[in-house]
């Protein structure tokens, strides 16, 4: 029973990672850049939610919507201002810029909200469910359901709509897609929009389980989600989902059965081992080198 409870914990934690990892992997697939600021979008989403709920007294659903819209806009603005001028620059220049954006978001939050963590009541609370001896928290169920719905929706969007297909085309070959009449700038903006909105949802789910938000809340989940994206094979959408869930499972099982403090080390250790055996991640495509 204890084991089952840990599995469910891991699934719910993993689905939060997966939601964040989706943003990383989509942006990587299309722009070939690591968007380090993505983790901090979670933090912005969480702060927006807390302001909307406790200061502006919005109803929960509207607060979540506000948080998603704010994050989506922020993602698009960041892309416009910081990343677009660097589209043909070296990957390292883009990486440093992304780190700069990440510092910028963190220090802005620090200036606006101060360094003390803010207590946030959860936007939606579900009663916990009793299954025999097993007690499943409402949050875990909600997280799982929301994530599953979003992932199915995203998969449908990418494979069945024109914009989604444009995204696939741009990630395959930017130049060729442009020749076929795909609006590359618009497609990239949409990618950032979707990724950031998903990060906002992840932020909402994250604080409904942890109830606190500070300027650096997004940093660690951001790094873990990044690891999840690489574990699944960066650039692959199903890979990010798989990687996120696996990472969550490993983390919560390691916390329960091996050591709470060493859980992070174990998570990163698994990553190194997986990459050594399969250098492109679990579902990553192998790129053959041409001379």
């Amino acid at each position: 029973m204890e084991f089952l409870a840990q599995i469910i914990n891991g699934l719910s934690l993993g689905s939060i990672y997966a939601l964040i990892a989706l943003g990383y992997t989509m942006v990587y697939g299309i722009c070939k850049m690591l968007n380090f600021a993505h983790g901090d979008i979670i933090m912005v989403g969480a702060y927006t939610l807390s302001v909307a709920m406790s200061t502006l007294h919005f109803p929960p659903f509207l607060s979540i919507l506000t948080s998603m819209v704010v994050c989506a806009m922020l993602g698009v603005i960041i892309e416009r201002v910081a990343y677009k001028p660097l589209r043909n620059a070296s990957p390292l220049a883009v990486l440093i810029t992304a780190i700069g954006v990440s510092y910028f978001l963190e220090s802005s939050a620090l200036l606006i909200f101060g360094s003390t963590q803010r207590n946030v009541q959860s936007a939606i609370s579900f009663p916990s469910v009793q299954l025999g001896e097993l007690n499943i928290s409402g949050n875990a169920i909600m997280t799982l359901i929301v994530t599953i719905i979003l992932m199915i929706g995203l998969n449908w969007f990418i494979n069945n709509t024109m914009t989604g297909k444009a995204m696939l085309a741009v990630s395959e070959d930017k130049g060729a897609a442009q020749l076929m009449g795909v609006n590359v700038n618009f497609t990239i903006a949409i990618t950032f929009l979707i990724g950031s909105a998903l990060a906002a949802v992840a932020g909402v789910l994250f604080i409904s389980s942890y109830h606190f938000v500070g300027p650096y809340t997004g940093a660690m989940p951001g790094i873990k989600a990044f690891v999840a994206a690489v574990l699944g094979g960066i650039g692959s959408v199903p890979g990010a989902m798989l990687g996120g869930i696996l990472l969550g499972l490993i983390e919560s099982l390691a916390k329960a059965y091996i050591s709470t403090q060493l859980a992070d080390a174990i998570v990163f250790g698994v990553l190194i081992v997986v990459l050594l055996v399969k250098p492109t991640g679990l579902l990553g495509k192998k790129i053959t080198e041409k001379v």
């Binding site: 510092y103 220090s107 690489v230 403090q261 080390a265 990163f268 990459l275 050594l276």
Partner: protein, 324 residues
């Protein structure tokens, strides 16, 4: 054998001595206040870190996000040594630095092995993972004080020692880079397949770069520990690695003088902005983004080129005049 006492080497030696004399004079004439004097050691340490990382990122072309990990391993090894050995400082500190460097180099070798199979972003994430593993293991190792930190390290570092080590680091890495080995390392960065086809042992050189970079990062870590007197695992986090990387990138990839200058700027800038302490990080972030955007702006680049080409043209004119 090549002559050691060339004009260029002599000039470099004179410059090294002159800078030290300047530091010494400033110190004794009381030009530095306590704050700026306290900055000298961190500047030297950061230069060592930036120059050693530059070997990996700028010359080998592999992104490493775990340099703080090498630094922390070296720092803990060296500081444990000085704490538990009761030798005079003149014996203890060099031995500690050697030990710290060697232990870090061993880890550099271990991290270099995956680097043979992985590249680009995947390698970057492995180095990041390595840094985080080191940090969380140190956090839980009672032997080295855990998250409370390692206390009671004798404060041996002063600017003379750091300056000497910094100069050694720069000389060794500059010579490595400009040697046959360095050219091999650069060729791996430019095109792995071509350099392999030319018969360059890629495996050997990749490992060599990792080991050398880790070695000097380890020594920098030992000096860091002996400067503060306390080591905390939380100082060696992801942000520290990023800070070192920023120095290398800001100075210009593959440029050692650039790395040195950027290391000085990045160490001094937060202190100089202390008056605006609340806005410090914000300004830092904006400077970072603005520099990257400007550096990749075609108009700014052509302006820069015109500026420099004018100067070069003037110098050329002067030279021809002197020649007449």
């Amino acid at each position: 054998m090549k002559k050691l006492l060339t004009k260029k080497n002599l000039a470099a030696l004179l410059l090294i001595i002159a800078i030290y004399a300047l530091l010494f004079a400033c110190d004794h004439l009381g030009v530095f206040n306590r704050q700026s004097k306290a900055l000298l050691v961190p500047i030297g340490i950061n230069i060592m870190l930036a120059v050693s990382l530059s070997l990996l990122v700028g010359f080998l072309g592999e992104l490493s996000l775990g340099h703080a990990g090498f630094m922390s391993v070296g720092a803990y090894a060296g500081c444990m040594f000085t704490i538990h050995m009761d030798l005079p400082m003149a014996v203890e500190l060099p031995l500690a630095m050697l030990l710290g460097g060697v232990v870090a180099a061993v880890f550099g070798f271990l991290i270099g092995i995956p680097a043979l199979r992985l590249k680009g972003d995947y390698l970057a994430i492995v180095t990041l993972a390595f840094g985080e593993i080191i940090r969380s293991v140190l956090n839980n190792l009672g032997l080295v004080g855990g998250s409370g930190g390692l206390n009671g390290i004798p404060k041996y570092s002063n600017y003379t020692i750091v300056y000497v080590m910094m100069v050694i680091t720069i000389i060794v890495i500059a010579n490595l880079v400009h040697s046959r080995h360095g050219r091999a390392i650069c060729s791996i960065r430019d095109n792995v397949i071509a350099s392999e086809a030319m018969g360059i042992p890629v495996v050997y050189y990749k490992l060599m770069a990792f080991v050398a970079a880790a070695f000097f990062a380890g020594i920098a870590g030992v000096l860091y520990g002996h400067n503060l007197g306390i080591l905390k695992p939380s100082t060696f986090d992801f942000n520290k690695s990023i800070e070192i990387l920023v120095m290398v990138v800001m100075g210009g990839m593959g440029s050692l003088p650039g790395a040195v200058i950027a290391a000085i700027i990045i160490t001094v800038l937060p202190e100089a902005l202390r008056g605006l302490s609340d806005y410090r990080m914000l300004i830092y972030a904006v400077v970072l983004i603005a520099m990257m955007l400007l550096n990749n702006n075609a108009r700014f680049n052509s302006f820069k080129q015109r500026l420099f080409s004018k100067r070069a043209a003037r110098q050329g004119a002067q030279l021809t005049k002197e020649g007449e």
